[in-house]
Structures are given as C-alpha cells and as structure tokens.
Symmetry: C2
Subunit: 407 residues, 2 copies
C-alpha cells in the first residue's frame, strides 16, 4: 500500500524548489529551477538505486529494473515544469506518484515482470518555449527535433541552447527507449470531478482542439460624423461572429462543444475612432472529431456572414489542430478495475486539456487518471488538490501499473 503521507511530503518538498510569491511554483522549462527540480527527483530515485538516461529532447527516463529487462517497460510520467505563476500539482503529481510507487514496491520487495520507467517530459507547459507538450512531441515523432530546439523565449534564447546547458541533453531516441504502455496521473484542471464529489476519474481520451486566428478588416473612421449606415466596422463583425458561434456551441444538447475567445485585439485603438481591424484568438473543442469538423465549417460560415453584415473582409487562419484522442481500452479497464477494487466509482471522462499522454498515445497503449482540483483552478498559484485524492489515485495507478507490468 502506498504511503499518502510520504507522497504529500514529497509534493511539498518539490514545491520548495522555485517557489512563487503566493504559495505556488515557478519552474519554467529548462530554467535553473526546473533543473533543480529534476536533480531533487534524481536524489530520491538514486536512493532507490534507479539508473537514468536522457534522450535528444532532454526527456528523463528513470528506470526500475524488472524480472525481464528485455521487455519494453511500462512508463509512468508527466512534467516538472510549471507556468510562470503556476501550481504545485499540475504535472508534479504524476511524477511524485510514480516515485511513491517505486518506493512502495521497494518496501514490499516486489520486482515487476516488465521494468518500469519514470519519465519527466521536457517543456510540457509551452509557456517559456512554444509549443506545449514539446518533449513528448519529439519522442513520439509528432514534433520535429528542429522545431523543438528552435523555439525561443522572450530573451531570445533558444530551447536548444537552454537544453545544451542543462546537463540533460542526451542522444537517445524512441528506438532506444521503447515503451510497452504509458500511464499518467494529473489534476483535472476543470470543475467536473469536484462538482460530482468524485475523488478520481478514469480518462478514456482527450477532446480535440482547433486554434484559429480570425482577422476582420473594415474602414477606420471618426466616431462622431460617420452615420451607422456608412460604416464598415470590423468590431461589430467580430461581436456578431462570436454571438453566432456561441449560439451554435450552446445548441449542442450534450454540452460537449466548447468555444473560447482568449483575445480580442483592436488595431490602433482610440476612444472616438471606428476600428479599422480586429483580431480574435479562438479555441474550439469537442470530444467527437466529426462534430469538431462540423464546428470548423460553421465557424467559417459565421465569420463570412458577420463580415457580410458589416460589408467588410475577414480571414480565418487555423494554427493548430489536435484531433480527438482515444486512449487504450485495456488500460482504461485496468484503471477502472483498480478503482472498483478500492470501492471507488470508476467514473470515465474525457480530458479537456492536452497532455503529454496525447502524444504518447500515438506510439504506445496509453491512459490517464484524474483527480479533482479546487474550484477547477490550475495554471494559478491557488491550484490545490486534497492529500486524500492524491493518495487514493496513486494507489489506483499503482495497481494498474502492476497489472500492465505483468502482461
């Protein structure tokens, strides 16, 4: 049985590395704090006599030997990097749960059939270097090493340079580090489990996402002397589009469509000037890929109709499309069975956010486990998860790992 107290202590110890002003964490990818976090984890796993290796993306693989080391290991992973004003659980929990499993197995004198691999993925957050989920992207072949290394931070340092100085750059690739399966425990980052008062959720997949930049271009003019009927106002086209798209998304009876306008920028704004150009950042998500494609078509229709209403032009650029991910049913069943064995409702859900597990699912059987976080808040110093939820989820994860490692 895992030790919830010890797990919680490790979480709080890790939070002392790169503490943020209001009780959260600040360990930007490949910063000194992020590196110090990795060193702390290695101090703990060195004590367990685990060996470690790194690949070309700086992903850190910490191995617990199995009875048959020729079999591909079971991966347990997540990330240690955080947002600039981030929390103490997002990513960290998945790794320290893996550490707690290693410790528990050591104490119980258990050697699994397959080896286990605790994996720290580089730059999951994408906050210092875009895109997010970069290390797992390179491992899985979904992001080129070149694009990964060329990303630059605000001080114009490239991820490649930062990695070369980190002490964690390796030369291995997935061919040297194959996995037999991958499991990730994470906070939900949303309100569903908390509102349902459930301590865990078994994650069967991740909703798909499409990111857009939408630009409306009209005619700038003086607010006073220009009658409404003479105007070509891109801001009114933008509001018409957003309201229409909102109607479409809310018309989804199952409530699975999601629309977020993260930014609404007016070019050269002035209080008494009709804007000439407006730019929107739009995020659309759905758990069903066909419906996500339909939403894409409807979005383009609404943009065209809004532009026509105002007699202006519009441009839609799709920046990213992450298709719906379906996790491995055997692993989902393993997690559900483990939950049931501990008297828990094996509530199955889709993840709302992308995780390293999305990339992993393209190259090995993958599944995830969620716990609630307070008020659904993450990417925030106030992020919080209950010690009992961390403990019970780690126990369920441990059981599922043991099952997978014996196959």
């Amino acid at each position: 049985h895992i030790d919830g107290q010890r797990l919680w202590s490790s979480l709080m110890d890790m939070a002392r590395i790169g503490p943020s002003p209001n009780g959260g964490s600040r360990r930007l990818a490949l910063s000194d704090e992020d590196i110090a976090g990795r060193r702390q984890l290695l101090t703990w796993t060195d004590a367990l006599k685990c060996e470690w290796r790194t690949d070309q993306a700086g992903n850190l693989f910490i191995r617990r030997a199995g009875r048959d080391d020729s079999l591909p290991p079971i991966g347990i992973g997540s990330h240690l990097d955080t947002q600039p004003l981030g929390g103490r659980f997002d990513g960290i929990l998945g790794l320290l749960a893996g550490l707690e499993i290693f410790r528990t197995l050591d104490e119980a004198g258990i050697t699994t059939q397959r080896p286990l691999e605790l994996i720290v993925w580089t730059n999951e957050e994408g906050s210092r270097f875009a895109p997010a989920m970069g290390g797992s992207g390179v491992y899985s072949g979904r992001l080129s090493l070149e694009a990964f290394r060329n990303a630059r931070d605000r001080s114009d340092m490239s991820l490649g340079e930062a990695l070369d100085h980190s002490g964690f750059k390796g030369s291995l690739t997935r061919d040297d580090l194959p996995l037999g399966a991958y499991l990730e425990l994470h906070i939900e980052q949303g309100p569903v489990l908390e509102r349902k008062a459930l301590p865990i959720g078994v994650v069967s997949g991740v909703q798909g996402l499409r990111w857009y930049d939408i630009e409306f271009t009209g005619d700038s003019a003086h607010a006073g002397p220009t009658p409404m009927s003479y105007r070509h106002d891109p801001l009114l086209a933008a509001t018409a589009f957003i309201e229409a798209m909102r109607e479409t998304v809310l018309a989804d009876v199952e409530g699975m469509s999601r629309l977020t306008v993260g930014d609404f920028q007016v070019a050269e704004p002035s209080r008494n000037v009709i804007p000439g150009k407006v730019l929107l950042n739009v995020d659309v998500r759905h758990t069903d890929e066909a419906r996500l494609a339909e939403l894409d078509g409807l979005l383009r229709d609404h943009v065209a109709a809004a532009a026509e209403r105002e007699g202006i032009t519009a441009r839609v650029e799709e920046l990213w499309h992450m298709p719906v991910t379906r996790f491995d049913t055997t692993l989902v069943d393993d997690l559900s069975a483990a939950a049931r064995a501990h008297g828990l409702d094996p509530f199955t859900m889709m993840s709302g956010a992308g995780h390293d597990a999305v990339n992993l699912s393209y190259v090995t059987p993958t599944a995830m486990l969620f716990i609630p976080c307070r008020e659904g808040i993450s990417h925030n110093e106030r992020e919080y998860a209950e010690p009992e939820h961390c403990a019970i989820a780690t126990q369920v994860l441990c059981d599922a790992v043991l099952r997978a490692a014996s196959r």
Copy 2:
C-alpha cells in the same frame, strides 16, 4: 472677392511646417512645429498690420481693427495643432480662411463696423494632452485653467510647462477679450456632404456625446476542461452587450443614433484561457438630448442583461457628457443667406464631432460652416479637401462675417 488660389497656397505653405511622412501634418499641441505654425501665421498677419494678444490658455487673438473698436469683435477661429499623423485641413482651413478674409478686406479697402479677431485655439485635438478642445474650454469657462495646465503628455511634461516655454502664454481672460459672435469653418470629417455632392453645409448645431468605460468581470479558467455551463465569461457578456446596443441604435428609424466601441481590451489574454476581465471604450451620440438620455438608460439595461446572462458583474463609468449644442439661429441664417447669394443649396446639418465652436456657443452667438472631405476621412495623412470647396466656403464665410460685423 476672396482669392481661392492665394488661400490654397497658404494651406500648402502651412503644410510645410511639421510635414508627416506621407503628405500629411504633424504639429502636436505646443510642440516646436505647432509654435512654428503660429509664427508663420503671425508673419502673414504682421504684414497686414494686425496686432495680437494671448490669454492665459495661450489662445492667440489676432485683431483687425474696426470702425468702432469699443464694440466686441466678431471671432473667426479654429486650431493649428494636428493629430500625430494628421491632415492639412482639419483646423488649419478655418484659420487660413480667416487670413484670406483679412487679406481680401485689405485689398478692397473695407473697414468693418466691429473689429474682427482671428483666433487660434490651443490644443483642440487633445492628442498630446487630454481633453480635446482645451483652450476654448478655458476661454469659455467650461474647463478649469488648473485641469487644462495639469494634463500631461507621454513624456510626462505638463501642458502648463509646455505653454510656459512656448512664448504664447498670456494673462488675459475672456473679460479682456469678449466676442460679439464666433464663426468657424471646418472640414466635415464625415461622408455626408461628399455623398450628397454638396460643396458646403451650414452647421446648425453639434450632436451630443456620452463616453463610457464599461468593465465586465467574470472568472478566468482553462479553455479546455471548463464546460460552457460552468463558465462566467466576461468576453461573451461584452459581445452580448455590444450586439444588443447595436440593435437599439439601428432601430432608430431616423438613423441619428451612433454607437462606437473604440477599444475592447482583454486583461492578461492567453489563447487557451477564458478571460477574467474585459474593458470597453464606448462612444454614444445623438442629435437629440432627450434621446441621448434614453440611450444612456438602454445602455445600462443592456449591460445589466449581458452580465446576468453570463452570471458575472459589470461596471459602467461615464467619462464625458457633451450635451447637444444648438448654434445661433441668426448666424445660421446669415450663412444660409450668403450661400444662397452664391447660388448654393444652404443645406443645414448637425456636426458629428465636437469643435471649439461648441465651447464658444456657451458664451457668444456661434455657428459653423462645413465643406466635404474626401471619403469622409480625417485624422489621417490622406485627409483632402477640394480647392474649389475651400474657396467657395471662405467666400460664404466672408459674407456672413461682414453681415455680423455690421450689426
């Protein structure tokens, strides 16, 4: 008869002072270029043997003596300052038309009964120092000298300091510089005259204006894992408000209601984060003060309904209320009669924008004359007015000035 050629040459000469990159003007209030513009005008009026004085706000009064100098003079005025990338006509035309009238009267050997006063108002644009129409505001008592002098530019210089160094700071007030009437010629800054193919418009008043800052505050959350039904999205409240207010304004069958959202700011925007706060700059105008008051009530209702729809809070702050201005009917009739005498349609219109004449109307009989500007564009280097329109309007203004000065 005024000399249209000479007027146009003066306009082009003035445009050589503080030229902007693409053929417009850059003479920010009380900048070296603005001062040089005033010096150029004084060089021209010195040649006509006019005396000049300045008041405490740096407004420049250039006097052409009358037969009875004890009578309050007729003022002809506007401004020489421009937007950062401004045009060659906005303000300048009104002053150089006055100069052309002085020159024409000199050539014709005419001395009017009342003296004439060519007036350069300080800081009309409000671009370097807010608010706009400041010099005329102080003269008319609608803006305190203290508030006027305390305005600061981006480099933190106060208008008071700039004025003290300009060489145009005086100590006179309106008591020393009373006016018997005030007339101002200006470009329309809107599309109405051009679309109607009219060379002039007689301005009978200025529509009222109300400026608002509206803030919607909801709950920031991750775009991915937060279902629509759990959200409190201030951006969606803002778009709902704008669409509803647009409906209200367009429902005005006479088409006299105007709505402009000049800025739409998202606090700490991020592509995959539901915004926590949104701020709008809103400009509402109407030619009827009672209807403007109704629009104020409807705006507040729409804000409340939009906030309620999203389950969030909102705050409406009114920053400025410029009531509807009605110009002096005798002067409006003088301008109309002069237009008719030159075979022109005395088309009467309301001004869409505020002008120094609005402030003057509180202290002396006032009216304005408009000419079209190309595509209705102003506050832009592309601003353009036809030489014939400048000339014919100056002739009409001259006739109206002669009539007023003989009363």
